[in-house]
Subunit: 248 residues, 2 copies
């Protein structure tokens, strides 16, 4: 049975400032739950699950029994942000320390400037995870990674890809020898470019692209040539295409 | 001023069966409106716009004045499905005749089996438009192209790409000499495959992939190799990556 106060608390975690204050965020659904409950880096604060989930996951439910509240489907509906709630909702603690980003110099890193659509950020995290890209650097203007829609769109990939919010100009200045690839109009055809497997790949905002201040740091502008008529590609799709050319 | 009945009617167009009965669908936002009002294939039934839009678009507003109703921002909010309504909403007539799909044999065509997420379908239409892919064939199990979320995600590309709902097995049987590329696990690395610029590229459902019945028609299975850990890629991202390798 869920109290009104508890429902209110869980729903309040949809707000970034509450997430920061409480150092917690929400994850939903059986698939992502299975991944979260199978790792140790992100600590589980509490679990709200239906009888169905508990019956299907007896071992793990027993292992987490002190943190588990059994709820009715109609109660899940009250705390869920999904159209079709999926048997389980978890509250996860935000890691205390920003995850360490190692080997910047020796790896291929994504850098996002002001990606604002939560679905896009989540999908980009999933792309990074697919291609084994270890680090994503987000400008402060990007949507919060612990936003529920980001977490859901990432499909559990937020557990594996290290995401840091940084002033991206400083990041470039601290790593002056690294190649900075930037997705711009009028760059080199990505399929006809010599792509290194280390460096930064810089992706801009959905509507505005990369800001002028950031563009001037690019030493290798690249482009997905348009052979048709659309004005632009979705930011996550463009990121996926570029990563594929780097990684395949 | 919008009557209650009019508001109810516009909102009812969110339902597929009403769209079919009324042969009409909704388009929102200044950018897509500009594209719609600049072409002739899709006929405009009515326009609901704020003073702001009308002042910014005097010539076109005058041209369409018999179809135009000036509404207040708070009225737009009542009929819009967007979180932040964007000054204009149009009701468009569904074309009477299914658009003619020409040159199947001589072109590269997308075939979608049971793509159910409207954002994915819209994004795929935008990808097709970017790469100049003229035709998309959808199985009957795909989400309706005139769903508002599909239209909005397509960003106006639905105006240029020809989309047909067909029994896709029949389509293949009618075109026996064409190459059928299929996105599957364990196919050939798309970056190491000889890709022709004609044929069908077959993409499956978000969660289930391609059905067995459809898979047996594939004569060229292709894959985006995973170099990391995510279980899968988003369907629209995968489509974008595959199309890029075919087209660039």
């Amino acid at each position: 049975m869920l109290s009104k106060a508890k429902i209110k608390y869980i729903l309040s975690l949809q707000k970034k400032k509450v997430r920061i204050k409480e150092q917690a965020f929400v994850v939903e659904g059986e698939k992502i739950a299975a991944e979260v409950l199978n790792q140790n880096y992100f600590k589980v604060h509490s679990i709200y699950a239906t009888e169905i989930w508990i019956n299907n996951n007896k071992t793990i439910a027993n292992q987490y029994k002190t943190k588990l509240t059994t709820i009715l489907p109609k109660e899940l509906k009250k705390i869920s942000t999904l159209k079709s709630p999926k048997e389980i909702l978890l509250i996860i603690k935000t890691p205390n320390n920003t995850p360490l980003v190692k080997n910047i110099q020796n790896s291929f890193n994504l850098v996002l400037e002001n990606i604002q659509d939560p679905g896009n950020l989540g999908t980009i995290i999933r792309i990074a995870d697919w291609f084994g890209i270890p680090n994503i650097f987000c400008s402060e203007g990007c949507v919060d990674v612990y936003n529920s829609k980001v977490i859901q769109a990432s499909m559990g990939s937020f557990l594996r890809v290290k995401i840091q919010y940084v002033p991206i100009e400083k990041l470039f200045l601290r790593n002056p020898s690294m190649t900075i690839y930037g997705a711009v109009l009028g760059g080199q055809n990505v399929n006809k470019t010599d792509l290194k497997d280390t460096g930064f790949l810089l992706i801009g905002n959905e509507g505005k692209g990369l800001s002028k201040n950031i563009q001037k740091h690019i030493n290798h502008p690249i482009t997905i040539p348009k052979t048709g008529s659309a004005e632009s590609l979705n930011a996550a799709v463009a990121t996926g295409i570029l990563c594929a050319f780097f990684k395949l």
